[in-house]
C-alpha cells in the first residue's frame, strides 16, 4: 500500500479515488497507516461480516485470507481492470495508470 502514496497525484490527475480494503478493524488500519506516516487515501474495514465484500469480488480465499488485488471501477460502476497478485507482490502501478488512462 505505501507505494501508492508516491503516485497519489497521478491518481488525482486521472480523476481516480484510491480505496484500500482489508478485513482489519478500523483501529488496526489507523495504527498501521500512522506507523507509515499517514496515507492520503482511506482504508476500509471489510470485517463485518468478515470478508463479505472480498467474497463478492472473488478475492477471499477459503482460508480466510484476502488476496492482493486491484479493481479499477469506472464512473458508471463497471469493472474495467483487474489485477490479482501473489500476497508477497505489489501490483504494478503503471498498469493501473494505463487502465485509468483508457477511461478518461
Amino acid at each position: 500500500m505505501p507505494s501508492y502514496e508516491e503516485d497519489l497525484s497521478e491518481f488525482e490527475r486521472r480523476n481516480a479515488q484510491v480505496l484500500g480494503i482489508s478485513t482489519d478493524q478500523v483501529f488496526s488500519n489507523e495504527a498501521w497507516a500512522k506507523s507509515m506516516g499517514g496515507l492520503s487515501y482511506p482504508l476500509l474495514s471489510d470485517n463485518w461480516p468478515y470478508g463479505y465484500v472480498a467474497a463478492q469480488y472473488g478475492v477471499l480465499r477459503g482460508t480466510g485470507t484476502v488476496e492482493r488485488a486491484i479493481f479499477v471501477v469506472d464512473k458508471q460502476g463497471i469493472v474495467r481492470y483487474i489485477d490479482i497478485h501473489d500476497i508477497g507482490q505489489q501490483p504494478p502501478t503503471d498498469k493501473i495508470m494505463q487502465a485509468l488512462d483508457k477511461l478518461r
Binding site: 480494503i21 482489519d24 498501521w32 463479505y52 472473488g58 463497471i78
Partner: protein, 62 residues
C-alpha cells in the same frame, strides 16, 4: 469436486458491474487523524473512477 480450499471459488470479470458496498473507514487520509466515516462505492458513481486495492492485512510488508 470441491474447489481447492485456498482459492476463491469464482472471480468477478472485467465488464461486470462492481458490487456496491458500504464499509466503515478511516478518515480520508488514513493515519492522519481525520475522522472515521462510512464509504459507499456508489457515492463515486458519475463523479470519480475508483481504484479498489484489496490487501491481506495491516502491517504486512510491501
Amino acid at each position: 469436486m470441491a474447489a481447492p480450499p485456498n482459492r476463491p471459488v469464482w472471480r468477478l470479470s472485467v465488464g461486470e458491474e462492481a458490487p456496491d458496498f458500504e464499509l466503515t473507514a478511516t478518515g480520508d487520509a488514513a493515519g492522519k487523524g481525520t475522522p472515521r466515516k462510512k464509504i459507499k462505492l456508489s457515492d463515486y458513481r458519475g463523479k470519480k473512477n475508483v481504484v479498489l486495492a484489496f490487501y491481506p492485512a495491516a502491517f504486512t510488508p510491501v
